[in-house]
Amino acid sequence: MIYVYAITDAMEVHDGPSGLDGGDVQAIEHEGIAGVFSTHDELEVSSDPELLWAHERVVDHLMDHGAVLPLRFGSVLRDPEALRVILDEDGARFRLLLSRVRGCVELAVRVGLTSSEPGTLAGGRDYMRERLAARQREEDAADRVLAPLRPLARATAHRPVQAGNTTVSESYLVPRGAVEPFAAEVRALQAQNPGLSISCTGPWGPYSFVDGGGR
């Protein structure tokens, strides 16, 4: 079996970190794009932080050398040929996505809001209405607080957090050179909003911008 990390146009996948379970990172190329994987006889794919960070380390290294479409964690195929077939069948879509993310990284921003309790509800429409209102409150807060960040990014994606929650989570596709100014803007927003808890993590691979073009 092979464990797949990413699809990339980087042609240098060697001399980088090892993959899950210390596996050697290899690549199979097809018409200018490569699928990056490691081979295993056995691999227990669980949400073990060691494995998660190993996956991200490989993705990060690839991002130093080209455009990268990171795969969702846990992508396993039968053999490299299966991966080559995917590169062949989906090549056009991958090339388009690669051009969208080229030169950029993903930055994650979260904002913690004050909570609100739903009241007692009379029926189905009331339930949906309340859920929708809560959703819109979150989006309004996101728009207001995080608006200054949008112009610094090539794209933005809203990430849903738990149902009925009081947290806003956004992803930003940011050119590498703009990462530090972006972080500085987040620090400024935090200073301007003492009642909120704002964080920024990254750089990550562009996970939120590669499947169906962003959520």
Binding site: V4, A6, I7, H14, D15, G16, P17, S18, G22, D24, Q26, S47, P49, L52, W53, H55, E56, R57, D60, H61, L69, P70, L71, R72, F73, G74, S75, L77, R78, E81, A82, L83, V85, I86, D88, E89, L97, E106, A108, R110, R159, S169, S171, R187, S199, T201, G202, W204, G205, Y207, S208, V210, D211
Partner: protein, 85 residues
């Protein structure tokens, strides 16, 4: 591909710490980094997976596209590659 010794890349630890006047809260940082990582790895990225349609009250809501393993077998068959049965 020539074999090479396994080693990790220099990594972000070699970068200077964030410019912040408060002392770093190591555990908080570790947890939020892991949570943001999980969020992306488990809910983002290119998906090589399955077809399900979920419906509630007769309203179709979710369609997730299923492909890779099925397509690799189908493509191999088209190309006349003998597959173990």
């Amino acid at each position: 591909m020539s074999p090479h010794p396994r080693r990790t890349s220099p990594g972000p630890e070699s970068r200077p710490p964030p410019r912040d006047s408060r002392p770093p809260s190591a555990r908080l940082q570790k947890d939020i980094a892991l949570i943001d990582l999980l969020d992306r790895l488990l809910d983002g990225g290119v998906v090589l997976a399955g077809d399900i349609t979920l419906a509630v009250a007769d309203v179709d809501l979710v369609y997730v596209g299923l492909r890779a393993l099925v397509s690799s077998v189908a493509a191999a068959e088209r190309q006349g590659v003998p597959l173990p049965r």
